[in-house]
Symmetry: C2
Subunit: 407 residues, 2 copies
């Protein structure tokens, strides 16, 4: 009998009515012949409610105690979900992390999964139960409660699927992965199938459907993932290993991110080792740099621009003088009114000229490209933030990513 | 170094402000030279909020899952309490039941404590930490989460004190145990010291300050208990083993209970074994009987009256016809407009005539006594409910239980 892991996010279990509706979905899969494992998040708003209580006392509360606190949100959800399944006439049992040895390292609030006792889950499944497991939480070898950080419930679900050799369906408030953000491109296509690599590039360049870590996990253990809606029964987006036919689509998706800021160091001496000095310094300060561009300005002086997360700008400001004196820079400027637009698709491997088409489209709309970076299956351009929507729409049109096209 | 267990109830940790105030109390005891263990209940209203969610789905939800659900309330409190202690500058660590092997039997929602791993608590105390332990919850040998039922956090606190050889202070929203309910007798005395037996009789005859089980536990392991206020620093009521001087007080307290109903079986044959038949039948139906009175009515026919919890009346009504036919009773009547008034004191052992004084006082106020029962240190009378306040006040006056008297 095949095993299906179903993951319901916070909005999908946001009320007792929604929990009952999700329980019905689980029962339908059971009746269709699967053994069913359910992983749930905390009811929407609950994790924030709990952490706000902690912040009222001390925003700098200890990570160990915050994990003790936040992990209760999922425990509430699994108990209610089990009661809902039982109410609908099927046996169910809930497990918190310690009960199935969901082991993690000791990094509170961002713990990494190490192992899961699949045998205990399998025993309950063989007793014909729907097994409901708390997402987001784990336990260390010493019995300490940990949490996995944002998006952790997805990772829990994928990890359980990996251990059980199961498919993993991620239920959410959207009905799949779209070729562009539907709030910007209402006509954007729903993508029926994607490779892990494409999904990873999308997640790390602005798509909010899945977190990078859960997709990496799925790719590593080859767990078939499906992103689908909690509120209807249509199939969603399958995320699987790359297959040959995927290459027929040149560009699968256009993503955008407005979470980055551009930092420019001007008037620095153009000599070997300067860039290395800068980025070693930033790495030591735990500031992640994404794109980098260097250009010679005048004489022997050069400019170096790079992008960082906007939330890191205050940290750079703190060390600005130190950084400038390190490379003898005349000036350091910030620009947080930028957007990163990316075109993603495994088809780029076999189709030439995608970058050129992208630049042409942006140029035709009068959009200035500030920075460019490419990978094997992605091209990213930094532009002025104000042009974000125009750029995304134009690129969707260019690459046939609107509904009714190329289907 | 002496160990002190401090237990804070739901109202004492009902907000983050109150949690900080309670944490300050714990730190003060630490600074006074104690090793401090804190046990907390769920924030006031939280357990009800959680169980209401379960009831929205299914009021008959499985006890296992309800325990999984309800036990989160205390977990939230211990995390917040630890963060509060840390914020105030002292090291603290919280433990849920599985982390200190707080073992119970498998009776969900009314589990009984079997053992606690005191060593882990002692280790944390020796590291100079304030140890914060979730009340109300436990874990079975199989790792299942259980709860101890109403008043369970008191039992947790007393059990930990027993294991550690500590005193146990129960912080609550009243500043001690009163000689009568202050809502009825505003002038009622606060009792400075009580014996376990007196407290037990009080708890089982209507006083709501402590639950019977926690007092039994304290008596069994000779744990000194103190009931005191969360909101001031005055000493409360000490509950300890009986000492000789306690006998100087004839009556320590007057309690009342309006939770009982009187059931009368009329016109039954007055032959040996009838009473046994009735009460065996009720015991089989799990209906607890408190007081029993039998009187011969006319000829060979007798009446039997007994009291039960009012909440059990519907169950008796269900089996009424069966019960009547079993002893061939003509009639079965209910009266739930009754109250049980009790006078309690270890001094009764050495002072004669207490019962007579009680009956005299009630007679003088024109209060009819419907039933009487006595124990070595208690006399209880059932009267009409309407006379409750009058009776309690008159008895307090008679036995010198008002403020300023006998002090």
């Amino acid at each position: 009998m095949s095993i299906l892991v179903m993951k319901f996010g916070g909005t999908s279990v946001g009320s007792t009515q929604k929990i009952l509706a999700a329980a019905e979905k689980a029962i339908r899969e059971k009746e269709a012949g699967h053994q069913v494992v359910v992983t749930v998040s905390a009811m929407s708003g609950e994790t924030d409610r709990l952490l706000n209580l902690a912040n009222e006392i001390d925003p700098a509360g200890s990570p160990r105690e915050k994990d003790m606190l936040a992990s209760t949100g999922e425990q509430v959800s699994i108990a209610l979900f089990s009661i809902a399944v039982q109410k609908l006439g099927y046996p169910a049992i809930s497990f918190i992390a310690p009960q199935i040895d969901m082991k993690t390292d000791r990094a509170h609030q961002k713990a990494r999964l190490k192992s899961i006792d699949g045998a205990k889950i399998q025993t309950a499944l063989n007793e014909d139960k729907i097994v409901v497991i708390a997402g987001f939480q784990g336990v260390t070898d010493e019995g300490e409660i940990t949490t996995l950080g944002r998006g952790g419930s997805d990772t829990t679900a994928v990890a359980i699927a990996a251990v059980l050799g199961a498919q993993c369906d991620i239920y959410t408030d959207v009905d799949g992965v779209y070729a562009a953000d539907p709030r910007i491109v209402p006509k954007a296509k729903r993508i029926p199938v994607l490779s892990y690599e494409e999904m990873l590039e999308m997640a790390s360049s602005g798509a909010k459907v899945l977190h990078t870590r859960s997709v990496q996990f799925a790719a590593k253990y080859n767990v078939p993932l499906q992103v689908r809606s909690s509120f209807d029964d249509k199939p969603g987006t399958m995320i699987i290993q790359e297959v040959k036919t995927m290459e027929q689509v040149v560009v699968s998706a256009i993503t955008h991110s407005m979470k980055e800021a551009k930092v420019t160091l001007s008037g620095i001496a153009d000599k070997p080792g300067t860039a290395a000095t800068i980025f070693k310094f930033l790495a030591e300060k735990n500031i992640n740099v994404d794109m980098i561009v260097q250009n010679v300005a005048e004489g022997d002086l050069a400019d170096i621009s790079f992008t960082v997360e906007r939330t890191d700008v205050p940290y750079i400001k703190k060390v600005e003088m130190e950084l400038r004196s390190l490379v003898d820079a005349k000036k350091l400027t910030y620009d947080d009114k930028i957007a990163k637009i990316s075109a993603i698709g495994v088809g780029m491997r076999t189709h030439a000229g995608v970058a050129a088409r992208m630049f042409d489209v942006l140029a035709a709309k009068g959009i200035n490209i500030l920075m460019i970076s490419t990978s094997e299956i992605k091209i990213s351009c930094v532009i002025e933030e104000a042009y974000t929507e125009l750029a995304v729409r134009a690129l969707c049109e260019e690459f046939g990513l609107e509904k009714g096209e190329g289907e």
